[in-house]
């Protein structure tokens, strides 16, 4: 892809992120409750007007909106996402502390989802009608399951009944299995649907016939030709998948009582700690957008059909 297109894409990404930051700023400004009130202890406390005024000056709420906006943007560029109203810590720091746990969970889930999807597709796609229906039905089921219910079921079965895995993780790998599985299975169902459709379609294409006509076995065609085609649409969705995983990790962390960005976010929402809510959201948005960009750049070269579809 030409340098010009790469730059254009980058500019687009920056534009979207700027738009997202602006949007969240606007939302923040539209908050009905008084942030100063929240900082001083929330709805329950009764701060004096002088205290409120002092906080406003300290946090810059008394300044014109435009100036606040510019300071906000400038802060983001420096990596400063503001300060939590409740914890009085810089948001960036909070994210940094909790990021590792969530990241491990998300990455493991993504890999796990892919493995499950590919295995199921290879085993059941484009074979007898019964197998295909089975595989497809399984995928639909998985994709439709609500995360938290799945998590609870897995907990009950594997932790409480079978005692194979711990109920609450201690940070070690065993504690990762159930939460990652909970995140991975629905995504695997969805990826499986996409992969399976593309796989079946690829097996019917003329190039599959060409390969067989050269002396290749059916399995060879699946493994060496169809699979590559099958994973392509799923891979282009990776950016979105990552963003979606991050946001549903919120639920899973709640179910499994795991530390991570999810807990932070939920607490922030309950206590109306807007900087944290906005900061985490922007962070996830950035990951999503950047991942998409990387995926588009990488795969646009491989499959020319994707170049037009990616727009």
């Amino acid at each position: 892809m030409t340098a010009r297109r790469v730059l254009a894409r980058l500019a687009g990404v920056v534009g979207v992120l700027w738009g997202a930051a602006t949007l969240t700023f606007i939302i923040e400004q539209l908050m009905p409750t008084d942030p100063a009130q929240t900082i001083l202890g929330g709805a329950g406390s009764k701060p004096t007007p002088e205290q409120l005024a002092a906080v406003r000056v300290q946090y810059g709420f008394d300044q014109p909106v435009l100036l606040q906006y510019l300071r906000y943007l400038g802060g983001i560029l420096r990596g400063d996402l503001g300060t939590s109203y409740i914890r009085k810590q810089p948001v960036a720091e909070i994210i940094g502390q909790q990021l590792g746990s969530t990241l491990t969970l998300t990455a493991t889930a993504l890999v796990g989802a892919w493995i499950i999807a590919v295995v199921v597709t290879l085993l059941t796609a484009h074979r007898s009608r019964a197998l295909a229906a089975l595989g497809s039905g399984l995928e639909t089921l998985l994709a439709a399951l609500p995360q938290y219910w799945l998590g609870i079921v897995l907990l009950v079965v594997f932790a409480f009944t079978l005692h194979w895995l711990p109920v609450v993780g201690d940070g070690g790998p065993e504690g990762l299995v159930l939460p990652a599985l909970t995140l991975a299975l629905p995504l695997a169902g969805f990826l499986g649907q996409v992969t399976r459709d593309e796989f079946s379609s690829a097996m019917e294409q003329p190039f599959a016939v060409s390969a067989r006509a050269r002396g290749m076995s059916d399995f060879g065609v699946r493994w060496r030709h169809a699979l590559r085609h099958a994973v392509l649409p799923g891979l282009t969705l990776s950016g979105w998948a990552l963003g979606s995983l991050f946001s549903t990790a919120v639920i899973v962390e709640a179910v499994f009582v795991r530390p991570g960005l999810g807990r932070v976010l939920v607490d922030a929402v309950t206590s109306q700690d807007m900087p944290v809510v906005v900061g985490v959201t922007l962070f996830v948005a950035t990951i999503y957008v950047v991942a998409n960009l990387l995926v588009n750049l990488a795969f646009g070269r491989i499959d020319p059909r994707l170049r037009s579809a990616a727009h």
């Binding site: 534009g15 979207v16 992120l17 738009g19 997202a20 602006t22 949007l23 969240t24 939302i27 796609a125 295909a132 229906a133 497809s136 639909t140 089921l141 994709a143 439709a144 399951l145 609500p146 995360q147 938290y148 219910w149 609870i152 907990l155 009950v156 409480f160 109920v167 629905p186 995504l187 969805f190 649907q193 399976r196 459709d197 593309e198 079946s200 649409p233 969705l237 950016g239 979105w240 963003g243 979606s244 991050f246 946001s247 549903t248 919120v250 639920i251 709640a254 976010l265 939920v266 929402v269 309950t270 807007m274 809510v277 959201t281 996830v284 948005a285 999503y288 957008v289 059909r305 579809a309």
Partner: protein
């Protein structure tokens, strides 16, 4: 969290929507789904027809009892009958599910058609706006609005609608553009038909077709989102019966009282599955007639 099909697929690739090519072929699933959904709707509309008790009646002596002939689904920590609460809980779930989806679709049609039919400027502006909104994951967007407005049914409807609207709008836009560039619209132009006639007779009906399927599956997803929010403690306030909230409340007892989690969970999962099966069936039928 059910994966947001519309948002992801349409945003990033025009290729592989999970079309029902390899969909569920057997009819019993479709019938079962339809029956189940009708039951849930009945629960929502006339809950008193299905249970004689009130979801708020507590009975401390009967707390945490396993399912029996008297309490079909068992009782919870305050001795309330879970079956009754599940039946009454259908109302808020359906309300939010259908309400949020309807609201999101209205917004999606407005934005999608404006972008698809408008000139380059309009399309550019709306598309950029949608891209920005889409960059913020739906659930998080919903969370932000809950943070802003505080929990409550109306807020939940609004929040879930906002979280899913952008994805739908993007799909509508894509459809409108596809139809606008189609052979039959060109043929109609060549016949000398006016733009408004073409829009009314061709663009609108053909662009709206896939939305029917989307709306059906969207209701399922909205129900899940709504109950997820309640599960996190951000939804309907207790002691109102709500499936997600019931799951949250039962979490502490999950090792000993499995029925607290199972039945509300089954209700949600049942709705989602039924709606997905019906949606795919609809999709197959629509495509079968057209393709």
């Amino acid at each position: 969290m059910t994966v947001n099909v519309a948002e992801g697929l349409v945003t990033r690739t025009a290729l592989a929507a999970p079309k029902a090519k390899s969909g569920i072929a057997f009819r019993p699933a479709v019938w079962l789904s339809a029956v189940f959904l009708l039951l849930v709707v009945a629960w929502a509309v006339v809950p008193d027809a299905f249970t004689s008790e009130s979801p708020f009646d507590t009975d401390v002596d009967a707390a945490i009892q396993a399912p029996s002939l008297q309490y079909w689904f068992g009782t919870d920590a305050s001795g309330r009958d879970i079956y009754t609460r599940v039946v009454f809980g259908a109302r808020s779930s359906l309300l939010i599910g259908v309400g949020a989806t309807a609201l999101a679709l209205v917004a999606a049609i407005l934005f999608g058609f404006a972008a698809g039919l408008g000139g380059r400027l309009t399309d550019g502006a709306v598309s950029r706006f949608l891209e920005v909104v889409l960059a913020l994951p739906g659930l998080l967007l919903a969370l932000i609005f809950i943070a802003m407005l505080g929990p409550g049914v109306a807020t939940e409807i609004l929040a879930v609608a906002i979280g899913s609207a952008a994805g739908y709008a993007w799909m509508v836009r894509g459809q409108v553009i596809a139809v606008r560039n189609s052979g039959y619209v060109h043929a109609a132009t060549a016949l000398g038909h006016t733009r408004s006639r073409i829009i009314v007779r061709h663009v609108f009906p053909n662009a709206m077709r896939p939305l029917v399927v989307l709306a059906t599956m969207g209701v399922g997803q909205s129900i899940v989102w709504a109950s997820s929010l309640s599960f996190l403690g951000l939804g309907v306030a207790p002691p109102a019966p709500e499936w997600g909230a019931m799951l949250d409340a039962g979490r502490d007892f999950v090792s000993t009282a499995w029925w607290l989690e199972l039945f509300p969970g089954l209700a949600i999962v049942g709705c989602t599955l039924a709606v997905t099966v019906l949606g795919r069936h609809l999709q197959q039928r629509i495509e079968g007639r057209l393709a």
